[in-house]
């Protein structure tokens, strides 16, 4: 990530969406990914909350990057992140009590999402404010997208609904398994399989082209 300085700015943004997707490729921040994605709405809310914290803390870390002593940087980052998570928690409570209840302690647990600390350490502490915001936005959107993918699949298969709207017919027998904890592991495992498969097919094609 240290070669990021000479890259185009759009690339800084785009890479979080797909090539370095925090969930599917880097496998970071797993706890919220699995815990709250039993419905698309929860996944989306969690994704947005995480993106908010990610963007705000990346901005602040990047602004302060020349003032933070190297020895205490991790502690400082965590304090900054914890502050914004507290803000996010009160915001969510103000916007929707239901979502706040559904997400429960997992909102507070955004603090220990490795993704946010990882971005602060690997990117925001070394790059300009504009770039850090772009990077954080890309990662945040990628994270939200991944949560939506997981939550969507689990909600459709587990209850036959999507964002609370019935989409599979009444004759559909819901797979209760999918909304239970085990289903989270299975769904994420299946998505990773898909990604591995696509990566491998692409690699094989490239090899064919060069041969």
């Amino acid at each position: 990530m240290n070669e990021a300085n000479n890259k185009l700015d759009t690339n800084t943004f785009i890479k979080g969406l797909w090539k370095e997707n925090p969930v599917f490729v880097q496998v970071l921040g797993m706890c919220p990914v699995l815990a709250v994605t039993n419905s698309a709405t929860n996944g989306m809310a969690m994704g947005l909350a995480t993106a908010f914290v990610l963007i705000m803390s990346s901005t602040l870390v990047s602004l302060l990057r020349n003032f933070i002593p190297k020895q205490v940087r991790i502690a400082t980052f965590i304090l900054i992140i914890a502050t914004f998570v507290t803000v996010a928690e009160y915001l969510i409570q103000a916007i929707s009590i239901d979502i706040h209840k559904a997400l429960g302690a997992f909102i507070s647990l955004i603090v220990v999402n490795c993704l946010i600390l990882g971005r602060a350490e690997a990117f925001a502490s070394k790059n300009s404010v504009g770039k850090s915001i772009l990077d954080a936005t890309g990662m945040g959107v990628g994270f939200t997208f991944a949560l939506l993918c997981l939550g969507g699949v689990r909600e459709i298969l587990g209850t036959g609904t999507f964002f609370g709207i019935q989409i599979l017919g009444a004759s559909f027998e819901p797979w209760i398994l999918m909304i239970l904890p085990g289903g989270g592991f299975f769904t994420l495992g299946a998505w990773l399989l898909l990604f591995n498969y696509m990566k491998e097919r692409k690699a094989a094609k490239m090899q064919e082209a060069t041969a």
């Binding site: 502690a75 965590i78 507290t86 302690a105 220990v112 490795c114 989270g184 299975f186 399989l193």
Partner: protein, 192 residues
């Protein structure tokens, strides 16, 4: 809150296993579960940090209630956990340099182990008293260790099994975790 101590322990350890039911501490669960020896020692370290931070969290909670500043909860918990981890890191480095090297980056990462912060938050939400909190921490730590060791055992066998290339790595580990999680659901109702 009149839950018996044995119930709290079994609940935290098996029925609502932190890793397999609450998805807390997934990073080390996926990261250090390659070999049984490292996994069990990691479990021990996590359990110790849990005990200490649980005690501290209880004290902090009392203080925050006294000065009426609930919004400081998250920030003060995380600071305490970070310092506890630092302490454990120093202790391990002093007494077992080999283990220190084996745990590597995952030792400081205990700070960002959601299981520990989760434990502090849950015990506050549930309103446990001091002894209950300690038992809860002990149960959660034991549960974490059990999950980690079982996983490490399975992965040691997986390494020599002839799996298709696509599923190797995280994908198959997640599938196994899913099955373990289903198995642990069999404990539901135990100890109630």
């Amino acid at each position: 809150m009149n839950e018996s101590l044995s119930f709290i322990f079994i609940n935290a350890c098996l029925v609502n296993n932190f890793v397999l039911a609450y998805f807390l501490g997934i990073c080390p669960f996926l990261g250090v579960s390659g070999n049984i020896g490292t996994a069990s020692r990691m479990g021990g370290a996590v359990m110790f940090v849990m005990l200490v931070s649980s005690m501290c969290a209880y004290g902090i909670h009392l203080m925050l209630v006294a000065i009426d500043a609930p919004y400081l909860q998250l920030i003060s918990y995380i600071v305490v956990i970070a310092s506890t981890v630092q302490l454990v890191e120093m202790i391990i480095k002093k007494f077992s340099p080999a283990l220190f090297r084996a745990l590597g980056i995952f030792l400081p990462l205990i700070t960002t182990n959601c299981a520990i912060l989760g434990l502090a938050l849950f015990q506050t939400n549930k309103g446990y008293d001091f002894i209950q909190s300690l038992i809860y921490a002990l149960g959660a730590g034991a549960g974490f260790t059990i999950a980690l060791v079982i996983m490490a055992g399975i992965r040691e066998d997986l390494d020599i099994a002839d799996t298709p290339k696509v599923v190797r790595g995280t994908a198959i580990v997640l599938m196994v975790a899913g099955m373990l999680s289903l198995t642990f659901m069999g404990f539901a109702g135990l100890g109630g």
